[in-house]
Amino acid sequence: MNEQDFAVGASGLTKTFTLEWTRKKLLALDGLDMQVRRGEVFGLLGPNGSGKSTTMKLILGLIRPTSGMIKVFGEPSGSLASRRQLGFLPENPYFPGFLSAREVLNYYGKLVDLCGKQLRERVEELIELVGLPLAADRALKTYSKGMLQRIGLAQALLHDPDLLLLDEPTAGVDPIGSRQIRDLILALKKRGKTIIFSSHLLEQVQEVSDRVIILHRGKKMQEGTLDELLSVQGQSQFTVSGLTPELQEKVAALLKSEGAELVNVSHPKQKLEDYFIRSVSK
């Protein structure tokens, strides 16, 4: 594969922070190799402090690697060319609190070189998309965490970038908002966008990502598609309706006679999230 076929290509990416005062070294990321293909939804998983945000900042060029190299669409990270093609939602986003949502989007819109009618339309479109039309003229310092997260998403999407970096996009967001974010990620994927997101909430990762990396203390522990990582090899599952106890016994006997074994019979459960959303949307 060519360098340009990757949205992000990192090899041997290492970052050490030197702590102020004590001058102690802290290894935040240790020799990470990571290739994200164009059009992929890529999950960075790991507990707190495992190096997810550090990886994001390295992709953005906000910090420089101690060693190793990293490219975004074949451009050096942090270059203007690379930043033109990406949008970033920071962890716990915070915006100039003295501005309203509309003002802040206008401000950032000008910085991604939108102007005039195009800018105005894009801002309205995004306010609508992230579901904030009612609060759009309120100062952001009155916003809740989940609302800030939505504005964070809107500003990341302003210039319709090809690569989206979402650092803990669902942290502090209610289940409905969280589902909307998930749907948004899927909609963007459909339009050919590449999305890299980090999370420590595993359930959500499972629903949207094509591939994941699991980080722990700055080291890559696992990498692969969810199918590869999660399917229990050598076992299969049916979902059946109208299964009577007699039929179940017959099936078990049939399986046994064919050399297979019935491992487990249980009722599929709906997910609490789905149940919750159906309950409140009634």
């Binding site: 906000l62 203007l80 990406l86 915070y94 100039p96 000008k110």
Partner: protein, 291 residues
């Protein structure tokens, strides 16, 4: 290039908006207004021509001191806040260069100072105009509209004292001085992240800047001149620290001594060169800072 300029202006505009939505600013402005208003209050008791000198002294002092506070606090509050609240991450994830951020912040604060000085000067002029018209009206009333030659002379004197064109010079110099303080504060903000620390450092440079030419005169006037060490030290100081002493021209103007515009232009040019260099150094330092 065109984008760069646009980014700088957009960031400057945002900085200005942020600054004028700070409560501290209003407290300072109110203080300044009290000082300006106070000056015309004290002069209401006696009808003398040098009232205007008194008003000017107080007004320039108010604008200088409060302006100094505004310029000391401006960058020292806004730049660390941007880092602490990590809004800088969002900003720099956009195709914005770090120097555009620095220059934008600086220009936004310059805009703020311009508005501040203009507004305060405007209000001061109103106070002067009010006082002058009440004085002349008093004389005209006493003479029933036909002032004697002596009274006319007095009126002319009042007006000359009130509307001294050299005032513009003083205001421009005060403004330039405040802008210079701001650029130093911006410089410190690119390496430090504590408001108190940045204000202290800027104030320190401000004081040294006032003392350096005094020190120079002192050392060179000693018998046998200064040692090479002192000379080198003074040279280094005068290279890095702006000579705020030159702004003492403001005092000359206020005390009524004529000062050539040429001298004012020299100071403005000196300030501009210093500012450009300081901004370049700030951008360089900020470029290399881990955020």
């Amino acid at each position: 290039m065109k984008n760069s300029l646009r980014h700088i202006f957009v960031i400057a505009g945002n900085t200005f908006t942020e600054a004028i939505r700070q409560k501290v600013l209003y407290v300072l402005v109110v203080f300044c207004l009290i000082m300006l208003g106070g000056s015309s209050f004290y002069t209401q008791f006696d009808f003398r021509g040098d009232d205007f000198k008194f008003m000017k002294d107080l007004a320039y002092a108010a604008i200088s001191v409060i302006g100094l506070l505004v310029s000391l606090l401006g960058a020292a509050m806004l730049i660390p806040a941007e880092l602490e609240k990590r809004t800088i991450y969002t900003l720099l994830s956009k195709p914005v260069r770090k120097f555009e951020f620095i220059v934008g912040k600086y220009l936004g604060l310059v805009l703020l100072l311009t508005l501040f000085v203009t507004l305060m000067a405007g209000i001061f002029m109103l106070a002067v105009w009010g006082h002058e018209s009440s004085l002349t009206a008093g004389i005209l009333k006493a003479s029933q509209g036909h002032p004697t030659e002596f009274q006319q002379q007095m009126i002319n004197e009042f007006r000359a004292g009130a509307y001294d064109p050299a005032m513009w010079q003083a205001l421009v110099l005060i403004w330039a001085k405040l802008c210079l303080v701001t650029v130093i504060s911006v410089l410190f903000s690119t390496v430090a992240s504590s408001t108190v620390f940045i204000v202290s450092c800027t104030l320190f440079i401000y004081l040294i800047g006032h003392l350096q030419s005094v020190a120079r005169d002192f050392w060179f006037s000693q018998s046998g001149g200064a040692s090479w060490l002192t000379t080198a030290f003074l040279a280094a100081v005068s290279l890095f620290i702006p000579d705020f002493q030159t702004f003492n021209l403001i005092d000359e103007i206020i005390s009524g001594n004529p000062v050539l515009w040429q001298n004012t232009w020299h100071i403005l040019l000196y300030s501009a060169v210093y500012t450009v260099i300081a901004l370049a150094v700030s951008a360089l330092l900020f470029e290399n800072r881990e955020l």
